[in-house]
Amino acid sequence: MLGSKSPSERFGEVVLPHLADALALARWLTGNVDDAEDVVQEACLKAFAGIETYAGGNARAWLLTIVRNVFYTWLARNRPRGLVITGDLADLDELSAAPEAGVADPDGPEAELIAKADTAALEAAISRLPPPFREVLVLRDVNGLSYREIAAMLGLPLGTVMSRLSRARGLLMSELGSER
């Protein structure tokens, strides 16, 4: 039963198993491992304080949501003047929904070329993605959340999640394909 366990026991069961996932998300949000550890630590403090409000369901998605919220607080504190999201998000989604060149383009990079891309080039390409695209890509391909979980977490329609993901992957593919 949920109620019969102490908060620290629940913390051990709900939060600790997902530390690696939390750290992986924070690493891509903040851009480096040291900041990621700070963000995850803050998130875990919040998770512990709010452990009574965790009411079952996907513990990983619950923790990752907290990590993401803490990251945005951290960002505001850390880089008060840094423009992270440029332009209007609505424009961004319009852009990503617009028909693009390279849709099933036979001239697109070969799958083998993408598979052979070296780690550093791929990491650099992911870092260069616009944050709203990168966030969706990381939640899907690094953290393995489903479309629905991502939509619920970001408060976005499913279609927006799908088009951002598609756009993020399209950008990565064309970058990796051009680096010969």
Partner: protein, 266 residues
């Protein structure tokens, strides 16, 4: 039936479907249609191969290691040993910004706390009124439950799947309260799990709201009423409960006592 009859013709939508296939998000019928289409269109198949290759490449990127030291630090957050947490590293910008952020935060908390305190009563009254009107609707509806089962092991996972949470579901049949099933209540725009029990010809609905930061702990069951129904409210564990029925208040109190005892014995 030609392959891809059910597929969109718009290339952008088709591209999204290819991604969804690679992500395992398509149902069997659409997957089949798309696979047939890809067999006919090499360009589409190449797109799929690219997505899969990219996923594999991202999947094989090194992930940050959770060091033993870091894990211990996090584990100690929950322990009694608070001293270990004290030397928290701050790489957050300059001191001035922290102080400013902190003061803004304090102001915001105080201000929103005051607003919250000022509006809380009416908020809770509204919540109770919502519960009463949903209960009234459930009495009129063809079925008071969305999932009909007297087996708590059926009701709990169903609620979990629908609303992502479920309260402890206890069997009280030996006390005369038959579990009819569960339903999803929407109270204040939030979906919440509800259990439905029957006593003789009367229905008792137990709405379980997850305890949030604004929840007032109510360990001792409290009588409320709205719309002419008896309502008993209490908090236990992760949930804030509201039991509502048209039976006499003393009987509802008795139900709540048994429900809570069964949950505690869980």
């Amino acid at each position: 039936m030609s392959a891809g009859e059910a597929l969109p013709t718009n290339p952008t939508d088709l591209r999204l479907l290819v991604q969804a296939l690679a992500d395992g998000e398509l149902d069997a019928a659409t997957s089949l249609a798309l696979e047939r289409r890809m067999a006919e269109e090499p360009a589409l198949a190449a797109e799929y191969a690219r997505v899969v290759a990219l996923q594999a490449a991202i999947g094989s990127l090194p992930r940050p290691q959770v060091s033993g030291e870091f894990r211990a630090r996090i584990a100690s957050l929950a322990g009694e040993d608070k001293a270990a947490v004290a030397p928290m590293k701050y790489r957050f910008g300059s001191y001035d910004w922290r102080a400013l952020a902190a003061s803004i935060l304090v102001t915001a908390v105080v201000a929103s706390g005051t607003t919250y305190w000022a509006t809380r009563r009416s908020g809770q009254d509204e919540f109770v009124a919502d519960i009463a009107s949903s209960y009234q609707r459930s009495l009129i509806a063809a079925s008071p439950v969305d999932v009909a089962s007297s087996d708590s092991h059926t009701v709990k996972p169903w609620l979990d799947a629908k609303v992502g949470m479920s309260p402890p579901t206890v069997d009280l049949s030996k006390d005369g309260y038959v579990l009819l099933g569960g339903r999803v209540e929407v109270i204040g725009n939030k979906p919440m799990p509800a259990l439905v029990y029957r006593l003789r010809k009367h229905l008792i609905t137990v709405v379980a709201a997850p305890q949030g930061p604004g929840t007032v702990a109510t360990p001792v069951a409290k009588d409320v009423s709205a719309g002419g129904f008896s309502i008993v409210h209490w908090t236990d564990g992760a949930f804030s409960y509201w039991a509502i029925s048209d039976i006499a208040r003393s009987e509802l109190q008795d139900f709540v006592t048994r429900f809570r005892a069964a949950v505690a014995a869980g």
